[in-house]
Amino acid sequence: MDTTGNNNQVMVDLTRVTRTFPPDVQALVDVSLQVNRGELLFLTGMSGAGKTTLLRLISGIEKPTKGYVEVSGMDLSKISRARLQKLRRLIGVAYQDFKLLPERTVAQNIAVSMEVAYRSRLFIRKQTRDLLAQLHIVDKHNTRADKLSRGEQQRVALARAVANKPDLILADEPTGNLDAESTELVMDLFHRCNESGTTILIATHDSSIYNRPDSRIVTLDCGRIVATKQDADKDTSEPVQYGPETLFTDCLKLLDKDTSEPVQYEPDGEES
């Protein structure tokens, strides 16, 4: 699979990215992050820290308020729509809310990511079969997505993200609904992909999957990168370590809100 754009070592490059939402939510503040090709990176942080927002910026669904997002050497704010579409076909995203089509079968859901890249039917069938087998849901091949248990849906979403053999996989909380055993299956799949050269970003709360010695972990807190645990055996040029904040403090923004400016309730507006 050819990668569009220049072929340097950096897959994802965020430069001082800030993303705010109206009215005054600061989802990401001044975040800089480089992810090399072939890396497996874990993104952690409290709920609401900005992990999903970061992944959405990388896949071009969200635009940064400030700063630059480069993927595979291309600045997302500058490329044409057609190029962005091509780029997206090289990125497999497993969304936190899955985004499955409820009325389609499992096989059809997985096929979507390959069909848009005009893969042959043979390839599609083989990939679907393989992935379902690896994730232990072969018997759900022709079941409608909305008839699946939540954990099965999660695995289907993962299979879809991986199916088209993308260069970059973004997995948002990929094991939230999975038991220990299924988590193992999923992580095996990711490791296999990673070994064959795919760059993988995983946003997760599940310490059992990121507390391995060989993983690089980036921790967000209230939209800022507060800690980076460096991968031991791979060398990256800049070991980032921001600010004086402690890990997992209760969100400062939240505390601020609670004390200094009392939350407004709009006594009449809330239920009429």
Partner: protein, 295 residues
């Protein structure tokens, strides 16, 4: 190859999977085509009928004395200046007397003692037979009145006016209901498209997210719209044809249909209606995806 295959299989799958909405859309299109072609048919036939009805619409110009050929030529010239006049005919006193005698039928004997020239000579003016002409008759009659030697201009004023009124009424009804229907069908289409978008929004968003190209997303819509347009308009025309035949059968005996000959659309018009429906539906469906793709 792969692209075409993907697009066709997409379109086919969508038609299968959302068939309930599709049937609703199909019926919407059928109904719209039926309504439009119905009013178009009524309108064209009303125009035609209007032309036929002018048949007896002559103005009789009474003269004070028999017109000699030279004078006749003069009158002819002055009257034919109006391009709305089809032909004119000179009736002498004698001819008028004979017509009256024919009209009286068996009672001809009452005319025995009467001089054959008691009726004045006249010119009969036949205006062009069209709806349009009706409205000008009064003015025309006023003009004829000013010609030298003319005693009086007579025509079935009351009847003509009523006729005109009715044709005008019919026209207003047809036009007003036609425009109401344009509104209505526009509306139904809007409803239909909104429904389609509601049922497909998730899918379109997903396709967008996984990087489907614009044409991959839009072509199936285009194809489906075209197919719906084709089948919808065929069904609509068929329904109208049935309705038309039913009406003709229903009123076969009455004087109504003996008088006018009503015609269905000729083939080229039918082909044009269907082509229009296909194009409109394909484009409407195509452009309905714009909002989602612009994101």
């Amino acid at each position: 190859m792969n692209f075409l295959f993907a697009v066709f299989s997409q379109a086919g799958r969508n038609l299968l999977q959302t068939w309930r909405t599709q049937i609703l859309s199909l019926m919407t299109i059928t109904l719209s085509v039926l309504i439009f072609s119905f009013f178009y048919l009524v309108y064209t036939n009303a125009l035609q009928a209007g032309e036929q009805l002018g048949d007896d619409l002559r103005l009789i110009v009474y003269l004070d004395e028999e017109a000699v050929p030279a004078l006749q030529e003069q009158y002819r010239e002055k009257i034919l200046k109006f391009d709305r006049v089809e032909r004119i005919e000179f009736i002498s006193s004698l001819q008028a007397f004979n017509r009256f005698k024919d009209q009286l039928d068996e009672d001809q004997d009452i005319l025995a003692d009467i001089p054959q020239d008691f009726l004045p000579p006249s010119i009969e003016v036949y205006p062009v037979r069209s709806l349009d002409a009706l409205s000008r008759i009064k003015r025309f009659s006023d003009y004829l009145q000013t010609l030298p030697g003319v005693i009086k201009v007579q025509y079935g004023r009351e009847w003509v006016e009523r006729f005109y009124t009715f044709i005008e009424l019919l026209r207003i009804v047809v036009i007003l209901s036609g425009s109401l229907l344009v509104l209505t069908t526009t509306f139904m289409m809007a409803h239909s498209i909104r429904l389609t978008l509601f049922t497909r929004q998730k899918e379109l968003e997903l396709l967008h997210l996984v990087g489907a190209s614009n044409s991959y997303i839009r072509m199936p819509f285009f194809l489906e719209g075209g197919l719906l347009g084709l089948f919808g308009s065929l069904a609509g025309i068929a329904a109208l044809y049935l309705l038309f035949n039913w009406t003709q059968l229903r009123f076969a005996g009455s004087a109504l249909l003996g008088m006018f000959s009503f015609n269905f659309f000729p083939l080229p018009v039918i082909a044009m209606i269907i082509a229009m429906a296909i194009i409109l539906c394909a484009c409407g469906s195509f452009s309905s995806t714009r909002k989602i793709l612009s994101r």
